[in-house]
């Protein structure tokens, strides 16, 4: 806590954003930087709580030591702040950009005060933007360099899937001294960071420089390699001392309604990955190009993926964009059964929502119709949530023009065919890869982490699980490990009941 009265003296000032008319014309990031003095003030708002909620209980899954690096930033010791940040987070420049910041929801400065007749709250510390500023500063100053291990253990590990969980696991394992090979079925390393998240939230150079760092550290990346298709997954068991599966939760939830098969109805990931490839200079055949230019776009699903589709559609020059959600609109403030420091179930607006579009709730799609095999209209109705199940409200049926329908309704579980089938892994009741407390699957020397085993989740959880699975694998390979467990051990649905480790 650089300044004891910082939280009184300074107001919360988020990072400035580029103006909407300017930023929707290109694909560059929408966030700008503070001037250095503002960064210090924002960090000075941290109270250095004796019981910091930002990195315990409901706060940062990585256990980022937030009060420490806030203090370093206030003292203008950015180098020390970076060391502290990297001690718990391999990729702070990712989470500094695209994390929903559970730390800020748990920040004690933003803690609601319950008076007898009303509730008040102050604004939490801008933890995520401070994190971004520290990481960006580190890259600018050249402080972030390859950290190859001094000694090799001679053990080898295969990591399948190069998303944030796989990258974190690979970097941790490699720095510990194991030889790590990362397999990726697409042509780019980075998983959803690279192909799913739009450039305006996370420019791809930001991912690539980490990949470059890891290559320089000795991690081997095998892109364009689909384990389970290009070769039998069991080959990995023969060739490596341990295998880590971090393939993500890639099976998207479908919309089983008449008309789903029409052209112009796509999964969000088809749409987003294609645009990311185009931005990287990839020539997409015009026959399969999904372009919102001049179209009326309907996005089904009110989450972050839907918001990414929204921002992408605006940048492509969509005529109108609608985003529908089947659930009711969340409240603006915490409900009574959702107290601090729990994650607040409230309405969130991303940068894409500032750029336009219409959001609506309690809407179900009943069918899609079109002509010449191309979608033209979406038919739906309002629903009510009487007994926990959505029920169409009679008389609310509607139809609307729609040239492009994007399905952003979440992900169910990993793809079960191919690799998982060949390895014959046990799955949990949600269809995710079943792992135990030490992140072992049902097959010896095979581990799993990230969305593949916990189900769709946040980048920050992926990094946390990646770090933790690295510890478990190191322990398995060596019998001892110097890697520290992440502060908040991942909790899976099937483990509910004995929560805290």
């Amino acid at each position: 806590m650089g300044k004891p009265t910082g939280f009184i003296d300074f107001a919360r000032v988020p990072l400035p954003k580029r103006a909407v008319p300017e930023r929707v014309r290109d694909w560059q990031e929408f966030l700008l930087d503070w001037d250095p003095q503002e960064a210090r003030h924002q960090a000075g708002r941290c109270m250095n709580c004796a019981v910091p909620m930002c990195h315990s209980y409901t706060g940062c899954p990585l256990g980022n030591i937030i009060p420490d690096w806030n203090d370093f930033v206030y003292q203008d010791r950015w180098d020390k702040a970076l060391i502290s940040l990297h001690s718990t987070n391999n990729f702070p420049e990712f989470t500094g950009r695209i994390c929903p910041a559970p730390c800020e929801a748990a920040c004690i400065v933003g803690r609601p005060r319950h008076y007898t007749d009303h509730v008040e709250a102050d604004d939490p510390v801008t933890i995520e933007y401070i994190e971004k500023s520290i990481a960006d500063r580190g890259w600018q100053e050249g402080w972030i360099e390859p950290e190859p291990p001094l000694v090799r253990t001679g053990k080898s590990v295969a990591v399948v899937g190069s998303g944030p969980a796989g990258m974190a696991a690979a970097q941790q394992l490699n720095r510990t001294g194991h030889w790590v090979t990362v397999y990726e079925r697409s042509e780019y390393i980075g998983g959803l960071l690279r192909l799913g998240i739009p450039d305006f939230k996370l420019e791809k150079g930001v991912v690539q420089r980490r990949v470059d760092q890891m290559e320089a550290e000795g991690v081997k990346f095998e892109a364009n390699t689909d384990v389970g298709k290009d070769f039998d997954a069991n080959d990995l068991l023969d060739r490596y001392d341990a295998v880590c599966l971090t393939g993500g939760s890639t099976q998207a939830r479908d919309l089983p309604v008449p008309g789903r098969e029409l052209d112009g109805v796509h999964f969000a990931m088809e749409y987003l990955t294609q645009q990311n490839r185009v931005n990287s200079g990839y020539e997409v055949d015009s026959g399969i190009r999904i372009n919102a230019k001049g179209k009326r776009v309907v996005i089904l699903g009110g989450g972050d993926t839907g918001a990414d589709c929204l921002g992408t559609a605006h940048r492509q020059g969509a005529e109108e964009v609608y985003q529908f959600e089947i659930m009711p609109e969340p409240p603006a403030d915490r409900a009574g059964d959702n107290p601090w420091p729990q994650w607040p179930l409230v309405l969130r607006s991303s940068s894409a929502h500032e750029e336009g579009g219409v959001r609506d709730y309690n809407i179900v799609t009943t069918n899609l119709t079109g002509s010449n095999g191309t979608v033209k209209k979406l038919h739906g109705s309002s629903v009510s949530w009487g007994n926990g199940q959505p029920e169409s409200v009679p008389g609310t049926e509607f139809e609307m023009d729609a040239d492009l329908v994007l399905l952003a309704m979440g992900f169910l579980h990993p793809e079960h065919g191919g690799m998982l089938e060949q390895l014959d892994l046990d799955l949990d009741q949600r269809g995710n890869v079943l792992v135990d407390d030490e992140m072992r699957t049902s097959v010896a020397k095979v581990f799993s982490a990230g969305d593949m085993s916990r189900g769709q989740s946040l980048v920050v959880w992926a990094i946390a699980e990646g770090r933790d699975v690295a510890r478990c694998i190191d322990q398995y390979l060596m019998g001892v490990t110097s890697l520290r467990p992440v502060l908040r051990r991942p909790v899976r649905p099937q483990q509910a009941g004995h929560v805290w480790k």
Partner: protein, 421 residues
């Protein structure tokens, strides 16, 4: 018994171990809104408990009912445990270590080799001897035997009619807090302002017990020939005290200690003149009294926040530690004071301003007239030569606050809030 008490179970265990009374602090604070920020010393308590900042105090959401509710729940839980143990009252339960299942609590590798038998001992005494607090056995402090009762009687004229009273009295070190009950009588009748100066003058002879002249009210003047124990003039509230060696003493007063440790603890007003050396922690937490002494032990003027102290001789080490206000003057004839002073919060200056010289001269003259100090006489008669040997000890923050105050318009009434940040 206290220390981390939170639940009714803690209370029951405490009682079984022999406690009659229980202290609960942190948990009660938490029930009122404390979130254990450990910022109590910084005035930045964000829940408005340990702060004087009006804006932060606005953030306090606690209600007395919260604490009441918490304590009811502690009592309720204690009752449940008592019922399970078969006790009807706390008194029945006190000291019943035989009902305590200790195996689990002390089965810990750190506890190996420790012998708890004395802690868990249950004295074998007949029923006629109480093993718990019995309200009929009131504590007897023997206050009716205090010498102050006599003094109060003899001061009736002063107390009732504000007429001057003067007499001599022999005292001994069994007479503790001498003058405090008298001060209570003055304060009850005349309030904080007390009586006019020197209305009650006592000439005391002997060795004063602990806390001599504690909380002495304005209008009372003690002159003690002899010596005084620790805590003399504690909380001095406007009275005047002079302590000198007996006339018959053969030692050199300025080279000998005649009063104990921790003098003037938390004094708020008044004057003290000591012809001799004081012990350690002289004037600790003094906030307004003026004192002259001929030497002090270690930690002089510790945590002082106001008032004025003159030391006409040597000091111990760590002088002025945590001193945030008031001023001190030390006659540094050896020239080694700077190595003995803790300069974390204070600056050492020479006595420059006429105002400082005047107040120094005035206090030393009073010291001379009240104690006949040879040291004071030597300094005053060589004033110009001695003045450069005085070191003024000035707290940084106090100096800054005085400078800021000097800039304020004279008519402005400075309120506490102005200092709360």
């Amino acid at each position: 018994m206290d220390g981390g008490f939170r639940t009714g179970r803690d209370v029951v265990i405490g009682a079984l171990l022999g406690a009659d009374e229980f202290g609960i602090a942190t948990a009660a604070l938490v029930s009122a809104g404390c979130i254990l920020m450990r910022k109590c010393h910084l005035n930045t308590c964000p829940v408005g408990i340990a702060t004087q900042d009006p804006d932060l105090r606005e953030k306090f959401t606690g209600l007395p009912e919260h604490v009441v509710n918490y304590l009811f729940m502690v009592a309720e839980e204690a009752r449940v445990h008592m019922a399970a143990l078969g006790f009807r009252s706390i008194n029945e339960m006190v000291g019943r270590v035989d009902r305590l299942d200790t195996a689990q609590a002390i089965d810990h590798w750190k506890a190996r080799g420790l012998d708890f038998s004395a802690l868990l001992h249950r004295p074998d005494v007949p029923e006629s001897i109480a093993t718990h607090f019995v309200p009929d056995h009131k504590q007897d402090h023997g206050i009716q035997h205090a010498i102050d009762n006599t003094i109060i009687e003899r001061c009736a004229d002063a107390l009732q009619k504000a007429r001057p009273v003067k007499f001599a009295l022999d005292i001994g070190n069994q007479n503790r807090t001498l003058g405090t009950m008298l001060s209570n009588q003055v304060a009850k009748r005349y309030g904080e302002d007390g009586l006019p100066e020197d209305t009650i003058e006592l000439d005391l002879r002997g060795s004063a017990g602990q806390s001599f002249a504690a909380f002495l009210s304005p209008g009372i003047s003690f002159r003690l020939q002899g010596d005084a124990n620790d805590y003399f003039c504690k909380g001095l509230s406007g009275g005047k005290v002079a302590i000198v060696p007996p006339d018959a003493a053969t030692f050199t007063p300025e080279e000998n200690t005649i009063v104990g440790n921790v003098g003037l603890y938390g004094a708020t007003a008044g004057k003290v003149f000591i012809r001799g050396i004081a012990g350690e922690r002289f004037c600790v937490r003094n906030s307004g009294a003026e004192a002259v002494v001929e030497g002090v032990g270690d930690h002089g003027c510790e945590y002082m926040t106001g008032g004025r102290v003159i030391v006409l001789g040597p000091t111990g080490r760590n002088f002025a530690a945590g001193m945030s206000g008031g001023e001190a003057y030390v006659l540094d004839e050896k020239g080694d004071f700077s190595s003995l002073c803790n300069t974390e919060m204070v600056a050492l200056e020479s006595v420059k301003s006429q105002e400082d010289r005047d107040s120094l001269h005035r206090l030393l003259s009073e010291h001379l007239s009240n104690t006949g100090s040879a040291n004071a006489e030597r300094v005053l008669s060589n004033w110009d030569a001695m003045l450069p040997k005085f070191v003024k000890i000035m707290p940084h923050d106090y100096k800054r606050a005085l400078a800021e105050n000097a800039k304020l318009p004279l008519s402005t009434d400075v309120s506490l809030d102005d200092f709360s940040r």
